[in-house]
Structures are given as C-alpha cells and as structure tokens.
C-alpha cells in the first residue's frame, strides 16, 4: 500500500508540471522543454529568500510566486516572441536552448551543491492503513490539488480564463472578438512558470534542490501530460497521479532497477491503444 501514498505524493508534482505543459500547449501548440527548469527555479528561489535573505515564509512565498510570473513572461518575451520562423520545431528547440541557459545560470548562481530547505510545517509521520506519509508530503498533495482546482475555476469563471479557452478553441475567432492572442500567450507562460514554482516550493523540503533537478521532473511531467492527453486539464492531473503510482508500484513488485523502464512501457502501451492519450480528444473542448 505504501506505493500508493508515495505515488500520489510524487504524482501530484508530475500533475502540476503536466498542467504547465498543457497550458502552454493549448495556447502555442508546442511542448515547453523548460517546464522542469521552472520547478528547479522555484526551489532555488525559496531557498534564497528563506535561507539567504531570512525573509519569513508568509512573505517569501508570494515574492517567489510573483517572481515566477515575471520569469514566465520574460521567457515568452526573450525566447518565444523573437523566433523569426515560429514553426513547431524551432519553437521546441528554442525551449531546449532556454532550459540549457536557465540550468547553466542556476549552476553559476547557486553552485553545484544540493541545497536544503527546512520543512514549512513541523515534521510528523502520519500512519495510514499499510503505510505512512510525512506531514510535508501531505502538504505537497494538498497544495497541488488546491492549485489545480483554483486554476480550473479561473479558467471557467473569470473573463480572462474564458479568453484563454476561446484562444485555444479558435485563435482567429478569438482575436476577432477582441482577445489579444499575444497577450494570452504571454500570460500562459506566466501561469506555467507559476505552476512550476509552486511545485518547486512545496517539494523543496522533501527532495532538496540541485541545479540539474529540472531535467527529470520535466520529462516525467511531459510523460504525464501525454498519458492524460495533451491539452486536457484534468487529464494532466490524472496522468501525473497515475504515473506516480505506476512508478511506486513497479518499484515495489519488480526488481527496482527496472521501474523506470516499466513506467515508460505502460505509457507506450497506452499510446498504442489510445494514440491521443487516456483522456485526450482530437481537440478537447475544454481546458
């Protein structure tokens, strides 16, 4: 049973990253390979604010989130907007280039060592039938799900959220109705970076932060988004949780060395049976 609890913990992080992938995919049609780097940046930012500047937590988190929005918007302005021929492959490669730059800068700024962020809430072990979770892991799950819910509310209820959905459904029609498509894309990167930083902040006490962390988290998040169906909001969440549980499950029943191979094997099988992911449609109606 333990694998379910730990699977949900790591899965909820994959879910947040997958949401970031989906939001950018829906507005630009590309995969942002720097999504994992946003998670790493989140951990680094909170470490800097808490441990170096000694800012209290209730102030550090909003500052980090604000910085995230700025980073996301700058990301769009610096990398995506400038590409002369913005076809799919050029845009994807520019995100790879951006990821490399971010990782390299993080190494220069924060060094190569793994950094430790102390827990936000007192440490305790909570027992469940057949396993246990730490208080920090529970926090990760709670924050991730809360973020996903509020984001879906934002898309459904707010006018800006509606503009997002309009943009995804039909860019041309949206722009005729007065939606500034470029503006929406910029915001999409802002929100994606925001999600990444949220993930980075909540996991930092459990997983620590190293400048190379973004690569694996990004890949797993991409896998989760694909598993759930690219562009599908709740599909991404489900994909993330499922991927987390798969990993834990295979590590606990098979020789653990092979666990990653089996997690990816499952994804391949899902794709062969349902080429658009578990919950994907040719073009999903809703965000």
């Amino acid at each position: 049973m333990q694998f379910i609890y730990s699977g949900i913990t790591s899965g909820s992080i994959f879910a947040l990253v997958a949401l970031g992938f989906n939001i950018i995919y829906n507005t630009t049609g590309i995969i942002n390979f720097a999504q994992g780097e946003f998670v790493m940046i989140g951990g680094m930012l909170i470490y800097t604010l808490l441990s170096i500047y000694g800012i209290p937590l209730f102030m550090a988190v909003p500052v980090a989130l604000l910085l995230a929005l700025i980073i996301g918007i700058l990301f769009d302005k610096i990398f995506i907007k400038l590409v002369k021929v913005p076809n799919e492959i050029n845009l994807i490669t520019v995100t790879i280039a951006a990821a490399t730059i971010i990782r390299g800068l993080a190494m220069v700024i924060w060094g190569r060592n793994t950094l430790n962020v102390s827990g936000y809430i007192p440490y305790s072990v909570i027992s469940f039938p057949g396993g246990s979770l730490t208080s920090n892991s529970l926090l990760v799950i709670a924050v991730s799900l809360l973020t996903a819910f509020s984001l879906s509310l934002f898309f459904k209820k707010s006018s800006l959220g509606k503009a997002f959905r309009a943009c995804y459904n039909d860019k041309m029609a949206a722009s005729i109705c007065g939606v500034d498509v470029g503006h929406i894309r910029m915001l999409a990167f802002g929100i994606a970076a925001f999600l990444g930083v949220v993930a980075g902040i909540v996991t930092a006490p459990i997983t620590y932060v190293t400048y190379t962390d973004g690569v694996m988290v990004g890949l797993k998040g991409f896998a989760a988004a694909i598993l759930g169906g690219l562009g599908n909001f709740w599909g991404g969440v489900a994909g993330g949780l499922l991927l987390g549980i798969f990993e834990g499950f295979f590590a606990s029943i098979l020789p653990s060395g092979y666990k990653d191979a089996f997690a990816f094997l499952i994804i391949l099988f899902v794709l062969f049976l349902r080429p658009m992911g578990l919950f994907g449609k040719k073009k999903a109606e809703r965000l």
């Binding site: 799919e88 730059i101 992911g277």
Partner: protein
C-alpha cells in the same frame, strides 16, 4: 528532380583528405573523429526530421544498441568485429521496424514521447542487464578492431576508416536527397492527406526510412564502440538524443549539409570553452537560442545564402 551536387561531395572529400594531411596532432584528430560520428548521427536525425517530420528522441538508443550489440557478439562468439557491426546494424534495423510499427502511427508530440520512452527503456536495460552489458560500470572487453585482416588502432588509422565510412554515408545521403523517395517523403511531410490521395503508402514509407536510419545509426555506434575501446550507458542516454536534435537544428533541417555543419560546430564549440568551464552551459544555450532565433534555416542555410549572393553578384 534536382541533379546530384558533385561540388558539395567534392568539397567534403577535399576537407576530409586535407584534414588527414594537415592535422597530425592526435588530439585534434580525435575531435574530428568524434565530429564525424556526430555528423552521421545528426544527418540521420535530420533525415527523420527534415524529410519525414518524425521527431525521434530515441536515436541515442539505436546508437547504443549498435555499440553494445557489436561488442557483445564479437566478444562472446568470437566473430570478427566488422561482421559483428553489420549484425548489430541489421538487428537494430529489425528492432526499429518492430518498434516503429506501432509507434509511427502516432503523430507530433505523441510520437516524440514514444521515441523518448523507447530511449529510456533501452537505457534502463543497458544499465540493468549487467551480465551482458557490464551495467553502469561499462563494457570493458572490447577486442581490437580488424577489417579484412588489417588491425585498425589509434587516432590516425581510425580517422582513415571513419572518414571513409563518413564519405560513403554522405554520398548515400546525397543520393537519397535527390531521389524520388526524398520527394515522396517531403510531400508526405507537407500534407499527409494530399499524399494519401496520390496513392502513397505513408506508413510504409515512414517505417522503411525509420528502420534504415536506425540501421545506419547502429552501424555508426558499432564503429564508435571499437574506436572508444570502452562504452557505458551514459554515452547513449536521453541527453545524447537531445544533442543530435540541436545539431540538426543548428545546422539546418532538411538538407544533407545541415547535420554535418551542426555536428562540426557543436562538437568543436565546447573544446574552445574549456577555459570558461563554468559558463559553458550558458554559452552553449545562448549559441543555440541565437541560431534558432536569427537563422531559422540553420547555419547551412546562412552559408547557402552567402554563397548564393556571391554567385548572383
């Protein structure tokens, strides 16, 4: 149909010969050899991406399969290395066919994910099947490379062999570029729907290309293993596949020279940056970003433009 670009082939040949004549230092020669290996892989990647629109993030795996199969069969069955490399190449082609059969029906990002997943799975197997591969510690017992009874060892001898192999592949790529198949593939890439209505079996064409490219990559990998004298899984992981992608893009997608130019520059670049080690990653990323942002057709596109301008003047 366009004519074969003999000038291009001749230039490549000239550069290869001049390199041999002018560069005596084994260090520079070894960098060129690495560049040639990368150039073949990047060109293969380029054919997939530029001609068929397949983003394969699992090319590193085929490279690794070629390397491991070649050295394992040679070491355990006493087969001569050159035969072992051919076998490895054949095996990899078959494997690509088997993997490609379900995978190539996928599109766009789903296909990218599937190939990436395949690469990951192979990487795990290279690490875990220690009884065959030596595991993460690497494979040590690589025989000396022999070709038709001649032993090939050292940078200088290997350069001759790898350069010849490279040239043969370049000629093949050029023939391919000007062949009917390439037109067919580009047509598919432009519009699958239209090409279907012309009676082209898209899936079969893609699968054939994918398998052939995997076979060439594996052949290259087999030779690499004998050149390096030691292989371990880290050389064939996801990062290598991404490197090939960047080489193809920087060089220019959809042309024979693209992969070669990209590989040459991105192999040489880090060697110039050893003095500023800490900033290497940032500079590499910046170089990549600037190329994509300002040179959408890659560096080879830029060269063509310059040459074209001069010619028209």
């Amino acid at each position: 149909m366009k004519k074969i670009n003999y000038l291009f082939l001749f230039t490549i040949l000239l550069i290869l010969v001049l390199t041999k004549l002018l560069i005596k230092n084994e260090y520079y020669l070894s960098i060129v050899i690495f560049g040639l290996f990368n150039a073949i892989n990047a060109s293969c990647f380029n054919i997939l991406l530029g001609y068929t629109g397949i983003i394969s993030l699992g090319q590193g795996a085929f490279y690794g399969i070629g390397a491991y199969c070649a050295v394992i069969t040679a070491a355990s069955y006493g087969i001569s290395p050159s035969i072992a490399i051919l076998m490895a190449s054949f095996f990899s082609g078959i494997l690509a066919f088997v993997v490609g059969y379900p995978t190539l029906r996928l599109h766009g990002h789903y296909l990218a994910m599937a190939t990436l997943g395949f690469g990951m799975i192979i990487y795990v197997f290279m690490n875990e099947m220690a009884f065959l591969t030596g595991g993460p510690s690497g494979f040590l017992d690589i025989n000396k490379f022999t070709l038709l009874g001649m032993s090939i060892y050292g940078e200088s001898e290997f350069y001759i062999f790898v350069a010849s192999m490279f040239f043969v592949f370049v000629v093949m790529f050029e023939l391919f570029d000007k062949s009917f198949l390439a037109y067919k593939l580009k047509f598919i890439k432009e519009s699958e729907f239209a090409s279907k209505s012309f009676g082209i079996n898209i899936f079969r064409t893609k699968l054939l290309t994918f398998s052939l490219v995997a076979a060439i990559t594996a052949f290259n990998g087999g030779v690499y293993a004998y050149y390096a004298g030691f292989i371990s899984p880290v050389s064939f992981n996801f990062h290598y596949s991404i490197q090939l992608l960047t080489m193809a893009i920087v060089g220019g997608v959809g042309s024979v020279s693209g992969g070669i130019v990209g590989a040459a520059i991105l192999t040489a670049l880090p060697e110039f940056m050893t003095a500023i080690e800490d900033y290497e990653m940032v500079l590499y990323g910046l170089f990549l970003a600037v190329t994509i942002i300002f040179l959408p057709e890659g560096l080879s596109g830029l060269f063509k433009k310059i040459v074209g301008k001069n010619a028209s003047n």
